[in-house]
């Protein structure tokens, strides 16, 4: 598999998809033609353009909200999975060291018990 998309690229793709939605553009083009041939007044075209801008805005807003939400969640997860939190790491380090000490002690006790049992 070749190089993956970045989340930014993915976002750009989605935004483009909304901004330049094919059907809308075709419709705008058709309207432009109709205006040029005098079939409809230019006012209709202007209204349509403004409306489409509104629709685009309405579509883009949830994407950005979700993107922000998803990005935050993803960051947390990433932080978690990548272990970049230093406090946790320190605690973990301490606990590991403690566990090593405990383990040494347990091992020492075990060795003694084993010897005593054999004797």
């Amino acid at each position: 598999m070749k190089g993956k998309l970045t989340k930014e690229e993915n976002l750009r793709k989605m935004v483009e998809k909304v901004l330049f939605k094919e059907q809308n553009l075709i419709k705008l083009k058709e309207l432009t033609r109709q205006v040029s041939t005098g079939e409809i007044p230019a006012k209709v075209l202007r209204e349509t353009i403004i409306k489409s801008r509104g629709v685009i805005l309405n579509k883009l807003l949830p994407i950005f909200e979700f993107y922000a939400h998803q990005a935050a969640t993803q960051d947390q997860l990433s932080d978690f999975t990548s272990g970049s939190n230093s406090q946790i790491t320190a605690e973990l380090q301490e606990k590991n060291e403690l566990l090593e000490k405990v383990a040494d002690k347990v091992n020492h006790i075990y060795e003694k018990v084993k010897k005593n049992l054999l004797v």
């Binding site: 993956k4 970045t6 553009l25 005098g38 949830p62 909200e65 939400h69």
Partner: protein, 1263 residues
């Protein structure tokens, strides 16, 4: 025109009282009313009075001398002896004054004598009137002025009315002498330097006929201004009378008044030469005095005077004064009767001093020979090249009941291939002369009646005239007929003369035989020696007044009615003279013209009449048809040149590049600034897909015009044009070459018959032609646009000659017209010009328009132009090709020669060429106008014109000589001229050529140049990795496809077809060295065996060339341009097959968007809406991925999904198992919307879906 009638018919008509022989013998007289004498009175042309005086004077001189000597010497023998000696000396010294002794001396010195019969003659014109030739006999002091009419054209269907012609010239107060001459000779034109030798050889046996009518008048004595003026006055009057008579009686004959060289050639008679200018203006210093044997003559004269004076003084009266008076009288007598030439010195000065006089020497290069052995022959050696011998007979007698068949004589001569001259000189007589010289010969009865009969007696001058008129006058007539033969010989000897003599001897016998067969009761006499020479001079001068003492030829007194058959222009002459159909046209004299283009032709006399032309209004709808392309073009140029001079602008479509003549024509004139010349491909181009109006909202309307122009010019059927239209409407941004490429790249199975037809549209246009369709780069202000042609008040020549085929030229013309129509339709400013388009029949072709059942196209093109005040002058090669609907636009028509029946049929109706209904032209029987025949035989610049203000069509001649002769501007001159007009066409041309220049990419990639941007991007990508190695064929192809695909996907849905295009491009890149083989070294130092590729040097070179020519910067952000933001069709499910990652990532954005909507709806507490999306979101996502992956565009059955889910599961790193995927698909579909707590359901589902989303997201995106 009536045929000549028999005498019987005439006599029947005559109801006069008496002009027949007797009242008693009327029935007999009716038949033979002209038999007034048994033998016509015959005479010899000798000045009798003068001869008698001279004879007597010689006798008196001799007797006086003898008597005086006898008185002095008293010795009779000595006196008589000396007297005879004196006479002999006198005769010898003055031998040139004796007709029969002129050549006497010559004969003494040899058998062959060279002489110059024209030595005593001088010929000259007046500078301002080359139609009158003057001849002056230096010896006899006779000046003759002559004018000659040559019958240039004989009508095929009309005979001349010779009877009336003869009668008219004999009536009182007119009565002029004239001569009629027919010459039939070989086409010898060796002296014309323009005539090729081959032409001369090929015309060797051809004969040409010349028919001359000559009028002349003479005056005797020394030359004075007054005499020349009188001659000039009379000759003009006579020629005017003769011309009027010819016009009146020779309908449809063309009688041309000869002038200058033609007139001189009429004298030369037996051959023609083109005189150079030097030859014409003979130096006046060469005029020699004609005082032959001056010393001896002076000696004789002195002797006579001294002897007479001495004798009188010593014998009779010793008075010195008396002696002087007597000597003076003798001197005057001698000068006037024996030595007139001594007076020429005075006339010579006159000739030299008059500046208007232009001397000519018609016989400068001719040597004349007479040979003692052949007294009946005259030989001429012309220009030391042509030896010509002639014999001649002279009509001597005519007896009762004579009749002649002149045409049969000519037929016989033609049959024997004999060259001949027939010269008839006629002089009408007053009754007085008849009475004096002819009455005695008249039958006794008639003479008695005329003189004494109480009722028939001629009592007064009125009755004399009546008597004459009834017989069409009484005439003195000279007739000579000669035969001649020739050989081309540079040097001559006796045997040459003998050879020719043999031939002409046989010919004269044939002539006489034929003459006697066809001229009953006529008697001719062979001419010899000086009389033969006289006969030759008679035929040259066409009159007998060249000698004071007479020509010594025989002549007869004839009645006019008898003269008629001798004077007839017989039908057989049509074989050697140009003939035409005598057509009847009422050529109008009342033409009002705004622009004149030539002259009307009066077909009665075949002469120019009044100026022919049109009003401006008529010029705005003028159709010129048939004839040759050149003749139509010259006519158009003539019209335009007139319009320019009248300040009316035109727009001319020049198909042949010949209109630069107009620039030459007006060079240096004030009109030059009113002309502009633009050449297609040099000054302008025309993009057929745009109207050239900036921001044109109505371009589609223009496109319709363009399509019509395309269809009509290239004769394309409606379906093809519809397809063209659709293609244009679907691809408004495309240019013609792109459309062609699109067709070429279609797979075979995609092509329909229409595709081929559509593709053929472009096959009509060559690569070069298509450069004329390109949009010229640069600011519109610097471009010549089509509507610019009508935006100024100048005459504009649009030169389309660079195109080879006519249909392309006509297409371009109408492409421009379409743009103009579109331009004027939307209220833009313009100048109303006259639009001139040739070959309109190619465009509005009748058969094609009828086949399409759409003649309305004609209206759609012409109506807007007419409505907006434009004028139309169209020309068509053959009118029958032109659709009849076009005819309705043109009320004014010019047609050249038409021969094809369909053309004639159409022109007949259009121009009202018709036969006369009811009364005939000259008689009730002649009701054929032959207008159609005339149309068929029009030549060169002759036309028929139909004007809307004149009922009848009339013939005319276009005067295009000045246009024809002028040398057209060269292209360089035109560019310079346009530069002076403020148009830098050189730079425009450069821009066009640059635009048309092919890049290396274009040459190498051919039609795949369409993908050039993708290919450049591909190389950009490849260049960064190609040196590393492992860049194998498959890899390259895969990468290439990646770049090509976005654009390619618009062209084809078919994977195979796309691959084919990719492979073809790959092959071309390889072939032309854009990709080169490479075997990079491995770490071990060895080269890899498998062929890898790297970018070749050709790529860099081609890239630089591309950017240089196209003026693009290599740093251009091609990637941005590559984005397919306006796909023409939705191709949602069409991506590269079996590329799972691509399928997932492409579909993931939709999934992302859907998720965002769920998230948003939940946030907005619209749970039901959120749930609805949640129910299908996963299913939709996976099913769409399936469609992508298998490149299908249909509904997918759930059963088909299982193997696909297994496939997904088996992919490395894919985060779900089959069971999990099934769970996600099915689980949420089961959610019931009628639940109590949709929030919880929606949020739970969201949590679960978000988990799915995150895993996919992590799989697809870089985290």
């Amino acid at each position: 025109m009536v045929q000549s009638r028999t005498p019987k018919e005439l006599s029947n008509k005559a109801g006069g009282k008496k002009y027949f022989e007797t009242h008693e013998d009327k029935s007999e007289e009716d038949k033979e009313y002209l038999n007034i004498w048994d033998a016509n009175p015959a005479f010899k042309d000798i000045n009798i009075k003068r001869s008698i005086i001279r004879s007597l004077s010689l006798l008196i001189m001799a007797l006086t001398f003898i008597i005086s000597l006898y008185i002095l010497t008293n010795n009779l023998r000595t006196s008589v002896g000396l007297g005879i000696f004196f006479i002999i000396i006198f005769v010898i010294v003055f031998h040139d004054e004796f007709f029969y002794l002129q050549s006497l001396f010559s004969y003494f010195f040899g058998g062959i004598v060279s002489f110059d019969p024209f030595e005593p003659y001088e010929f000259w014109f007046n500078k301002d009137d080359p139609t009158t030739l003057f001849t002056y006999n230096k010896k006899d002091l006779i000046t003759v002025a002559m004018r000659i009419y040559s019958i240039e054209v004989i009508p095929e269907n009309v005979n001349p009315n010779i009877k009336r012609f003869v009668q008219s010239l004999s009536v009182k107060d007119v009565r002029i002498s004239y001569s009629y001459q027919v010459v039939q000779r070989p086409i010898i034109n060796l002296f014309d330097k323009n005539a090729s030798q081959q032409e001369t050889i090929n015309s060797f046996s051809s004969k040409i006929g010349k028919i001359y009518f000559t009028v002349f008048c003479d005056i005797k004595g020394m030359l004075t201004n007054n005499k020349i003026e009188r001659l000039d006055y009379f000759i003009k009057e006579y020629s005017s009378i003769l011309k009027s008579n010819i016009v009146a009686n020779f309908h449809h004959f063309k009688a041309k008044l000869l002038s200058d060289n033609a007139l001189v050639n009429a004298l030369r008679l037996l051959y023609t030469r083109v005189d150079s200018n030097e030859n014409k203006g003979k130096s006046k210093k060469t005029i020699k005095s004609f005082n032959g044997y001056i010393f001896f003559k002076l000696l004789v004269l002195c002797f006579i005077l001294i002897y007479t004076g001495w004798f009188i003084f010593h014998t009779l009266i010793s008075n010195f004064l008396f002696v002087l008076i007597i000597d003076g009288i003798i001197t005057l007598f001698m000068i006037f009767f024996w030595w007139r030439s001594v007076l020429f010195g005075i006339s010579r000065r006159k000739l030299i001093k008059t500046p208007e006089t232009v001397l000519v020497s018609p016989f400068k290069d001719v040597k004349f020979y007479i040979i003692r052995k052949f007294p009946y022959s005259l030989f001429m050696h012309i220009d030391n090249r042509l030896l010509l011998g002639m014999k001649m007979v002279n009509l001597k007698h005519m007896y009762k009941s004579s009749y002649c068949k002149f045409d049969r004589l000519i037929e016989a001569l033609n049959n024997h291939s004999i060259n001949f001259t027939y010269t008839l000189k006629n002089e009408p007589l007053y009754y007085y002369y008849f009475e004096k010289h002819g009455l005695d010969s008249v039958h006794e009865k008639i003479r008695h009646n005329i003189l004494f009969h109480p009722y028939y007696k001629i009592k007064n001058s009125i009755e004399e005239e009546e008597w004459l008129a009834y017989r069409k006058g009484i005439w003195y007539s000279f007739l000579t007929i000669s035969v001649n033969n020739y050989e081309f010989l540079n040097s001559i000897n006796t045997s040459d003369f003998e050879r020719i003599e043999e031939v002409i001897n046989s010919q004269i016998k044939t002539l006489k035989g034929a003459f006697h067969i066809n001229f009953h009761n006529y008697k001719v006499e062979d001419l010899k020696n000086n009389r033969l020479l006289s006969g030759y001079l008679f035929s040259v001068f066409k009159h007998n007044n060249f000698r004071l003492n007479g020509s010594h030829l025989h002549y007869l007194m004839l009645q006019g009615a008898t003269l008629v058959p001798l004077n007839y222009i017989v039908n057989i002459l049509r074989k050697s003279v140009k003939t035409i159909i005598g057509a009847e046209f009422n050529t109008p004299l009342h033409l009002r013209n705004f622009a004149t283009i030539g002259y009307t032709i009066n077909t009665e006399v075949l002469e120019q009449e009044v100026s022919a032309g049109f009003t401006y209004k008529q010029l705005k709808n003028l159709l010129i048809v048939n004839g040759t392309p050149l003749s139509r073009e010259f006519t158009l140029m003539k019209i335009v040149s007139e319009l320019i001079q009248k300040g009316k602008p035109s727009l001319i479509f020049d198909f042949n590049g010949k209109w630069a003549r107009l620039l030459s024509l007006f060079e240096g004139s004030q009109f030059m600034k009113d002309i502009l010349h633009f050449r297609l491909g040099s000054a302008f181009t025309a993009n057929p897909l745009i109207s050239e109006i900036p921001y044109d909202k109505h371009n589609p309307e223009y496109i319709e015009y363009m399509l019509d122009a395309f269809a009509l010019a290239f004769k394309k059927d409606q379906r093809t044009i519809d397809m063209f239209r659709n293609t244009i409407s679907k691809n408004p941004e495309m240019d013609l070459p792109s459309m062609q490429l699109e067709l070429q790249t279609q797979s075979d199975w995609q092509k329909t018959p229409l595709s081929y037809s559509f593709q053929n549209l472009f096959s009509d246009l060559t690569q070069q032609d298509r450069t004329f369709f390109q949009d010229l780069q640069g600011d519109s202000k610097n471009k010549i646009l089509s509507h610019d042609f009508i935006c100024n008040d100048k005459t504009i020549i649009v030169d389309l000659s660079i195109l080879k085929d006519l249909n392309k030229k006509i297409f371009f013309a109408f492409l421009i017209i379409s743009k103009i129509i579109h331009y004027i339709r939307y209220g833009n400013e313009y100048h109303k010009k006259i639009i001139i388009i040739p070959r309109i029949d190619l465009f509005f072709e009748a058969r094609f328009l009828d086949m399409r059942l759409n003649y309305g196209k004609i209206n759609s093109f012409l109506d807007p132009l007419v409505e907006h005040g434009f004028g139309l002058i169209f020309s068509a090669n053959q009118i029958h090709y032109l659709h009849p609907n076009v005819h309705t636009y043109f009320n004014n028509i010019i047609t050249f020669r038409a021969t094809y029946n369909r053309d004639i049929a159409i022109l007949r109706n259009l121009m009202s060429l018709q036969e006369i209904v009811g009364t005939g032209v000259y008689s009730s029987t002649r009701n054929q106008t032959y207008q159609l025949e005339y149309l068929k035989t029009l030549s060169n610049n002759q036309v028929l014109i139909r004007r809307d203000d004149i009922y009848q069509t009339f013939p005319a001649e276009i005067d295009w000589n000045n246009i024809k002769e002028v040398k057209p501007y060269t292209y360089e001159q035109t560019l310079e001229f346009m530069d002076s007009q403020g148009y830098d066409l050189r730079s425009t041309e450069k821009r066009i050529l640059d635009g048309a220049m092919q890049t290396i990419f274009e040459k190498d990639l051919g039609s795949y140049f369409f993908y050039i941007d993708e290919i450049i991007n591909f190389f950009k990508q490849v260049k960064s990795v190609d040196k590393i190695g492992n860049f194998y064929e498959n890899k390259i192809k895969k990468e290439l496809m990646k770049w090509l695909y976005p654009k390619l996907s618009k062209k084809t849905n078919n994977k195979e077809s796309a691959k084919k295009v990719r492979d073809n491009i790959y092959e071309k890149l390889l072939k032309h060295g854009y990709l080169e083989e490479d075997h990079p070294k491995k770490a071990s130092g060895s080269e890899s065996l498998r062929t890898s590729y790297k970018v070749g040097d050709q790529y860099e070179e081609a890239l630089n060339d591309y950017f240089t020519i196209k003026g693009k910067s290599p740093d251009i952000q091609i990637e941005e341009l590559n984005e397919d933001i306006f796909p023409s069709q939705p191709r949602k499910y069409i991506i590269r097959q079996e590329d799972l990652y691509e399928a997932l990532s492409r579909e993931f954005s939709d999934f992302y968007y859907e998720m965002s909507k769920i998230y948003n709806f939940i946030n907005k507490e619209q749970y039901s809406t959120a749930i609805k999306i949640e129910q299908t979101i996963v299913k939709k996502f996976l099913f769409n991925v399936y469609r992508h992956y298998y490149n299908i565009d249909r509904a997918v059955m759930p059963s088909e999904m299982y193997p696909f889910l297994e496939l997904l599961e088996n992919i490395e790193g894919f985060p779900f198992t089959v069971e999990e995927l099934k769970y996600y698909i099915d689980q949420y579909q089961k959610i019931n919307l009628d639940i109590d707590d949709p929030r919880m359901v929606a949020e739970n589902a969201y949590e679960s879906l978000y988990n799915f989303f995150s895993k996919i997201n992590n799989y697809i995106l870089k985290v």
